[in-house]
Amino acid sequence: MKTTRTEEFVTTDIAIIGAGPVGLFAVFEAGLLKMRCHLIDALPQVGGQLSEIYPQKPIYDIPGFPSITAQALIDGLMEQIEPFKPGFSLGERVDRLQQTSDKRFIIHTNEGTTIQAKVVVIAGGLGCFEPRKPEISGLDLFEGKGVNYMVKNPELYRGRKVVLSGGGDSALDWTLFLATIAERVTLVHRGETFRGHPDSAEKVFQLARQGTIDLLLQSQITSLGGNGHLQTVTVTDKQKNASVLEADYLIPLFGLTPKLGPIANWGLGIDNSALLVNVHDYSTNVDGIYAIGDINTYPGKLKLILCGFHEGALMAQSAFKHVYPDQKPSFKYTTVNGVNAF
């Protein structure tokens, strides 16, 4: 799989926003009708909710699979669409959508990638997964100036004083990793124990006993200080004793939560955080923009993978007129025609 980065310009027939199961299967339905697709997803991996929230859970209502784990379904979808060579921009959030005078669409991501397409399919599910933020006054003042919600480039922390907060696996794993390169690592956790991963929890306790890291349990970060860049973090324990730590970086790690995000600002009909569509073809109120899967709503809507697959099939038949305005889509069974790879 190719992950495009930094100021790329892509031209395609259909730009699909969201690489969850529904966006992935739409590539197949589009491919049968000889339309090329490019997928964009804010997450670094494909699979949407299935890979992010419940990869190892079995799903029981996929036709033909009495039981299949979420990740196995995504792997199967990736194999199924491979003949149609979709492009991928992963780890990029679509922020802006524009229409040109000749009725094409231009999509802009937060990483500077631009995608030009004849059709836009929004398969954005529950929205972008974004980091959960703790309530610390002034947190936003230091975002990108010492406060980071993800470890993108560990080298940034070499020789620095780093405070992490959180009690999940990623807080433990990054504490262990950064302990090897940072000047000092402090992990702040509200609880007394870590239940996620007993092995990494044991290693963290061991490093704390050896004095390699500082572990502050039953404590919370209550305020931040600095002048332009983060310099101090105030930690308050259960007995309400506050202590001020020197810190170059604070990394709060509290998982991801979906937010509708930029999709709300594109002038599309919305009801209760979902896009209104016409059930004949799952088109939105803008000609050439479709919405399929969990992101759309219509009378009787069910947020099921199965329903999203159906919506993708009908969308593709309708999108054909935008990609090949002079032709009619021909409906053929795959048993008759096979799958003709690009």
Binding site: Q49, K133, S165, G166, G167, G168, H189, R190, T257
Partner: protein, 106 residues
């Protein structure tokens, strides 16, 4: 009779009768009673959208299991009296408890 007191995310407090819901999860019950409940994971203790604080009567509840505690560890606003309402079954013991729904659109 099972009656609990619920404070919603806007701060308004109301008594809710749960008699018809015995055996169901408190998350489903609150949804049925018209409370805003996104419940991304549908009650699998994975998303913490159903996070609530037990303001009174915590000791009457079955203690939280590991799956619930692991997910609560990922909530920045979790407290000692935090629970996931999808992991609490409606039963007679709930009578008289007092809960506050916590935010999920953070």
């Amino acid at each position: 009779m099972i009656q609990i007191t619920v404070e919603d995310r806007q701060g308004s407090v109301r008594d809710v009768r749960l008699d018809g819901y015995v055996g169901q999860s408190l998350m489903e019950t609150l949804k049925g009673e018209g409370y805003d409940m996104r419940a991304t994971c549908g009650g699998l203790a994975l998303c913490a959208d159903c996070h609530c604080l037990i303001l009174a009567g915590e000791r009457d509840l079955e203690p939280a299991k590991d799956a619930e505690l692991i997910t609560l560890d990922t909530r920045p606003d979790a407290q000692d009296n935090s629970r996931l309402s999808c992991q609490i079954r409606v039963a007679d013991q709930l009578d008289g408890i007092n809960i506050r729904l916590m935010g999920y659109a953070d």
